[in-house]
């Protein structure tokens, strides 16, 4: 459809002003609260005009673009740099509207050749910066933008092909991480849906050579990392493909279809007659920056698929897994979430108003992309709870259709639990329970009655059990009893009641019973710590024959008596228990002076609160923070024989990961303090050197000496913390290796299949340690390889380590 100039909406602005017709000026942001009026800078206005082009307008997008191009052209004499900056930024930050802005740039270039050239130069500068700063995901959008500019007659096709050739030549580099060459290949392939047709029309020989080089590279790529990133281990019904393999298949199919691509919205087509009159620019030769040791290339990924054309019962058909449409839709939906994740209403609205939605089963795509992010390994791109809230918003906006798709998805995910990665099951549990809590826990549990017929440790009943436990935490025990059919009673969590050893007269015979009564009364009467400690001296030590060394050695019964009694008195709520731990901190520290003491206090906490895992978790957290126990003690306790029967329960792993995170944050905090002290010293030294005043110099020297002393202390603190952190990981990995080796040996000698539910759970948990804390673990790779993950290790266990290493190859 040819676009006649006169049909353009909006007026042409006068130079120096930015006044535009309401038709395509929309400063109202859906969620902005009204502030007291501020002068809107020209820059803000320009930004708004450009960012919101086409939104909330009765005119067509083409009409809006035409008008905006006119406005910007008129403003170029005065605001050229601002406009350049804004356009470069939208190229980077609004990839889901790529073709809208390439069209705009095309129109500007047609009207002002020099501006077009300056824009291209600015983009190249921005690309170099982005790569230098390790912002590889944004760099992809920039290159894609440049490639679409070929379609808008801004950039000459041969120069684009030349850039691609330079990118692909990276595959010839030696001794570079695979993820580096991966990225350059990915960029080229991911541009082809937009520009493949045009490039093939102009330079088919070169393009064929390019694709052939890429094919060769893909064949020699190492793919050890793939199993670690797959959400399901099964190939059916949808293989979890490595992302480059999938994209390659999609481009192959596109090529076979002679580059006919019909999904991408291309506003520039309407302007073809104007644009083809424009002069094109050549991209300057672009040499990919060399590999630097501190470069952080994106990690490889696996394409998440859960739906295909059979799943959407009516309406438009879902594009196939190897269709380029699927790639483009998924890319755009991912980009929309990336742009708007902080504002859930806007995010939901933007997702649901995806251009071209009438031709695709949009709800299915949205649900698939959201779950794809939620289940992404190693970690989701955004905080888990965002996805829960986003899905709720989507249900609100599409109450007649989206909840059904979500229910269908949940059903499918349940059916495939047997082969789902445990980390992903964790997230599914948390999502589902939280989601249900927003909808009165309504669910057709009877549909899942099959989970009652298998061993309780199998994934399905385990999943239901954990969901009910999480649901109870968000409500209360009786509620859970009420919402499930009676047949499910075995999966209902226990009532979260305290188990008191010295509860009633039947406990009279237990050692320590009388002292427990005395302690209870002492606490009620607000006795001092000394008084209580002397009461506790009465408790005999079951580990000892005589009483010398009483004060030194570890007395488990003493801990039992005191802690059971104290926690029993404080059982009413979290706050009561925290208050108790705080009040008697001194006593608890004294009792847990030894490693055995620390282990035992954790044992007692478990013994009394085994029905209330949530309470165990918060108490352990508090005890770490107040240094009653240390992180290694918690790790050792979780792996101890006493806790073996709980080993596959979710709360155990939540406690362990929370413990690791606390350790990591502690190290980071002290490192930050050290950096700040060093900065302060440097500033002080500069000040002194610049002052020249004798008195000032002397006081400054004193201050510097103090700072130097502080830095020395902090340095020691950092080293000590790092050592503790390294030790924690070593303990955890050692325990895993011991447990897994034991199991593997036992199975081998008994000629039994190793792959029991326990084993699969355990190996996934080992993997999860690597994935969730990969940044910290990277520092200790040397030690891990030399001490623990040596070649002598059972291949089953070693495989996990090798897959992890492959993530950054």
């Amino acid at each position: 459809m040819k676009m006649k100039r006169e049909e353009g909406g909006g007026n042409r602005a006068r130079a120096g002003t930015v006044s535009v017709e309401v038709g395509f000026l929309s400063l109202g942001q859906p969620h902005k609260r009204r502030r007291t009026s501020e002068p809107i800078e020209i820059e803000d206005r320009l930004e708004s005009l450009i960012c919101r082009v086409g939104e909330k307008s009765t005119s067509s997008l083409e009409s809006n673009l035409e008008g905006l191009a006119g406005v910007l052209e008129a403003d170029l004499p005065n605001y050229k740099n601002k406009i350049l900056r804004i356009l470069c930024s939208v190229a980077r930050l609004l990839p889901e509207k790529l073709t809208v802005y390439t069209t705009l740039v095309g129109l500007l270039n047609a009207r002002n050749y020099n501006f077009g050239g300056e824009f291209v130069e600015a983009m190249i500068r921005q690309l170099k910066e982005t790569l230098k700063n390790n912002l590889y995901n944004e760099a992809v959008y920039l290159v894609r933008f440049l490639s679409d500019l070929v379609n808008c007659h801004v950039i000459a096709a041969p120069s684009m092909v030349a850039m691609f050739e330079n990118f692909v030549s990276v595959t010839q580099e030696e001794d570079v991480p695979q993820v580096r060459s991966d990225w350059f290949v990915y960029v080229v392939l991911s541009c082809l849906p937009w520009v493949g047709k045009e490039l093939y029309e102009k330079k088919d020989v070169e393009m064929d050579r390019l694709l052939s080089q890429i094919e060769g590279y893909l064949k020699r790529r190492v793919k050890t990392h793939v199993p670690m990133l797959q959400v399901w281990s099964a190939e059916k019904p949808h293989p979890q493909e490595e992302y480059l393999d999938c994209l390659w298949a999609q481009i192959q199919k596109l090529k076979k279809d002679r580059w006919q691509e019909r999904h991408i919205l291309r506003p520039y087509i309407a302007f073809d007659s104007v644009l083809c009159e424009a002069l094109q620019h050549n991209l300057p030769p672009f040499t990919p920056p060399g590999h630097m040791p501190d470069a952080h290339y994106p990690m490889p990924r696996v394409v998440f698929r859960m739906f295909d054309y059979t799943d959407a019962p009516e309406g438009p058909v879902m594009p196939g897994s190897h269709s380029v449409e699927r790639f483009v839709i998924e890319e755009n939906l991912h980009c929309i979430i990336k742009t708007h994740w902080k504002e859930r209403k806007t995010c939901a609205a933007q997702l649901l108003s995806y251009p071209g939605k009438s031709k695709i089963p949009l709800n299915y795509h949205i649900v698939e992309v959201i779950f794809g992010q939620l289940f992404q390994l190693p970690v989701p791109p955004h905080i888990d709870v965002m996805y829960t809230t986003l899905l709720i918003e989507l249900c609100k906006l599409q109450p007649g259709s989206l909840p059904q798709v979500l229910a269908q998805a949940t059903e499918m995910l349940y059916m495939r639990l047997d082969t789902m990665n445990t980390s992903c099951i964790d997230r599914l549990i948390n999502w589902f329970a939280h989601h249900l809590s927003n909808f009165q826990f309504r669910w057709s549990w009877d549909d899942w009655a099959d989970c009652l017929t298998v061993d309780r440790e199998m994934p399905k009943p385990k999943f239901v059990k954990e969901v009910l436990e999480k649901s109870m935490r968000l409500s209360y025990h009786q509620r859970i009893v009420d919402i499930v059919p009676p047949t499910f009673s075995a999966l209902i969590p226990s009532e979260p009641v305290f188990v008191y050893k010295y509860a009633d007269e039947s406990a009279v015979s237990l050692p320590g019973y009388t002292v427990s009564i005395t302690v209870q009364n002492a606490i009620k009467n607000k006795a001092s710590n000394e008084e209580i400690l002397s009461i506790l001296k009465e408790v005999s030590n079951p580990n000892q024959e005589d009483d010398d060394d009483e004060t030194e050695s570890f007395n488990p019964l003493k801990i039992d008596v005191f802690l059971q009694t104290l926690l029993h008195m404080a059982a009413k709520s979290f706050s009561h228990s925290f208050s108790a731990l705080g009040k008697f901190h001194e006593i608890l520290k004294a009792l847990t002076d030894t490693d055995e003491g620390k282990l035992h206090i954790l044992k007692v906490v478990y013994d009394v609160w085994k029905n209330h895992p949530q309470m165990i978790a918060v108490l352990v957290d508090k005890m770490i923070r107040t240094q009653i126990v240390d992180c290694a003690a918690v790790a050792n306790w979780l792996f101890s024989q006493n806790m073996a029967h709980e080993f596959t329960r979710l709360y155990i792993w939540e406690i362990l990961h929370s413990t690791i995170r606390k350790m990591n944050k502690h190290v980071q905090k002290i490192q930050k303090e050290l950096e700040e002290a060093k900065d302060k010293l440097e500033k002080q030294q500069h000040k002194r050197r610049d002052s020249g005043d004798e008195d000032m110099e002397r006081t400054s020297e004193d201050e510097e000496a103090q700072l130097e002393e502080q830095i020395e202390r902090l340095q020691e603190k950092v080293e000590s913390a790092q050592s503790e952190q390294k030790n924690l990981f070593l303990v955890i990995f050692q325990r895993f290796i011991m447990l897994l080796t034991e199991h593997l040996v036992r199975c081998e000698t008994g000629s039994v299949d190793v792959s029991t539910p326990w084993y699969r759970n355990c190996i996934d948990r080992l993997q999860q340690i690597f994935l969730m804390h990969h940044q910290t673990i990277q520092q200790y790779m040397g030690t891990l390889e030399n001490l623990l993950f040596t070649a002598e290790l059972d291949p089953h266990i070693l495989a996990v380590y090798q897959q992890f290493c492959a993530l950054q190859l």
Partner: protein, 164 residues
């Protein structure tokens, strides 16, 4: 590369609201400064029966919770439908404003808002009857918040008499 676009960096869910604590010791500017740096949230529209444990479970989804203080009726010293949630970091509190505010806890849509920081005494309702001010004057019947509002409760007995 710092080129950020104001038009694209909207994060309106974490904006401070219009509410200002009338009992705050300090001027408006000081209060607003604290609100903008705070790690503490006020949580409102809770049921009287919502427990610290339920609050902890929900708000822990945004990060480690430092402490929870359940709001109490000044006279009865029982829960009166609000609480404070304090996080260790501002970032976690912001996520709660973005993703927990306006969702359900104990079947009720709860509301979160920035708080300048807990001080002893702020855990008590400021209504005449001891609960929250909103429960003094509301006309609706809310079984999870003591039934009718306090004023309405006083009016009701008169009506009942008249129907006989």
């Amino acid at each position: 590369m710092s080129a950020k676009l104001n038009a694209l960096s909207s994060d309106s869910y974490i904006d401070i609201s219009q509410y200002r604590d009338q009992h705050f010791k300090g001027n408006r500017y000081e209060q607003e400064k604290l609100l903008k740096q705070s790690n503490t949230l006020y949580v409102g529209n809770l049921s009287f029966y919502t427990t610290e444990e339920q609050v902890h479970e929900l708000f822990s989804k945004c990060g480690d919770v430092k402490r929870i203080i359940i709001g109490l009726d000044k006279i009865k010293k029982t829960a009166c439908g609000f609480c404070f949630v304090e996080y260790y970091t501002r970032n976690d509190a912001e996520n709660a404003m973005r993703f927990v505010n306006g969702t359900r806890l104990d079947d009720r849509i709860i509301r979160t808002d920035w708080d300048a920081g807990f001080k002893e005494g702020r855990q008590y309702g400021r209504g005449k009857s001891g609960g929250q001010v909103r429960d003094e004057y509301r006309q609706d019947y809310d079984p999870a918040r003591g039934g009718y509002g306090k004023l309405a409760q006083q009016q009701r007995p008169t009506e009942a008499r008249n129907t006989f």
